[in-house]
């Protein structure tokens, strides 16, 4: 568990959460999550029927990848909230990097909570996901 004594506003944590995203990883995510929308896994449908250049990842996969950075940073059981806006599509071949920046450390409901701004960008530095998270830390 992180310790508030070692944290300060503006502190950053960053991870590459996927490199060269494969269509197979998107299929793994579809199978596990239950979202079988062919827009994500069926390139014949996605291109010939829906008119996209390829399949694209579900936003929730990007959120899951971003969550990996967060849990590596603050811990799984320490998460208190996590919310995001999906700003751009994620395509096969993308590399994604997720960053958390500390915006506040405060006492809430008997716990010391760190508040984070969260952002995930692709290899062109375009923002694909923007959000926030909060987590419990040691005082």
């Amino acid at each position: 568990m992180l310790s508030a004594k070692k944290l300060q506003k503006g502190g950053e944590y960053r991870e590459v959460v996927v490199e060269n995203l494969t269509r197979t990883q998107i299929v793994q995510y579809a199978g596990a999550s239950g979202d079988y929308n062919p827009i994500h896994t069926d390139e014949v449908f996605s291109t010939q029927v829906a008119g996209y250049p390829a399949v694209f990842a579900p936003g929730m996969l990007t959120m899951g990848l971003t969550g990996k950075m967060l849990t590596n940073y603050v811990g799984v059981e320490q998460m208190r909230s996590f919310g995001v806006r999906f700003t751009r599509q994620v395509w096969p071949g993308d590399d994604l990097t997720s960053t958390a920046v500390i915006t506040d450390i405060a006492e809430e409901d008997g716990e010391t909570i760190v508040k984070l701004d969260v952002q995930t960008v692709n290899q062109k530095d375009e923002v694909v996901l923007q959000g926030y998270a909060t987590a419990a830390v040691q005082p």
């Binding site: 596990a32 999550s33 239950g34 996209y52 936003g59 059981e77 996590f82 919310g83 995001v84």
Partner: protein, 179 residues
Amino acid sequence: MADSKDNKKQVIFPVEAGHILMFARSIGDENPLYGAIGGEASDHIVAPPTFVQASAQYTPGYPLRPVIGEPWFGSGKTPSGRKPTYGQEKQDSGEEEKRSEGSNAGMLHAEQHYTYHRPLRPGDVLHATVREGEKWERDSQRAGKLFFSDAITEYRDQNGELVVTARAVGVRTEKVIKS
């Protein structure tokens, strides 16, 4: 029983170690808290923070899951196995714009939020109650008019305790965003 005025729908979602393992692999996460690493199983397993989304597997009639024997809007012999529920083609000075087709046609996931009251563990049986929320709209440069709607899902455990609260915001666009 839900009547026409009651827009609450309940789903029963058992949390299982094997499901958590496959979900963790799909996000490329080898955290030992998610289960087997190289064949060794952990006896302390919790779910990743976005795992509750997989309650879709237990949602009766979930529209993005194929039903055996029923036509499916993805490809098989043909690029799409059935006529889409929504399917609009806009022709504007020679340019064709297609709306994403299917049961959730044109609806994109705009936002997702979770509040965690306690970690999820295998053996938990969650009762998910969905409540439709607000609808609103605004204009955007890239996509024309945007139509938003949100839904709140409360996941309670076998003791009736709130475990996770989720809020999903969907958006329908006037134009398909291709980039």
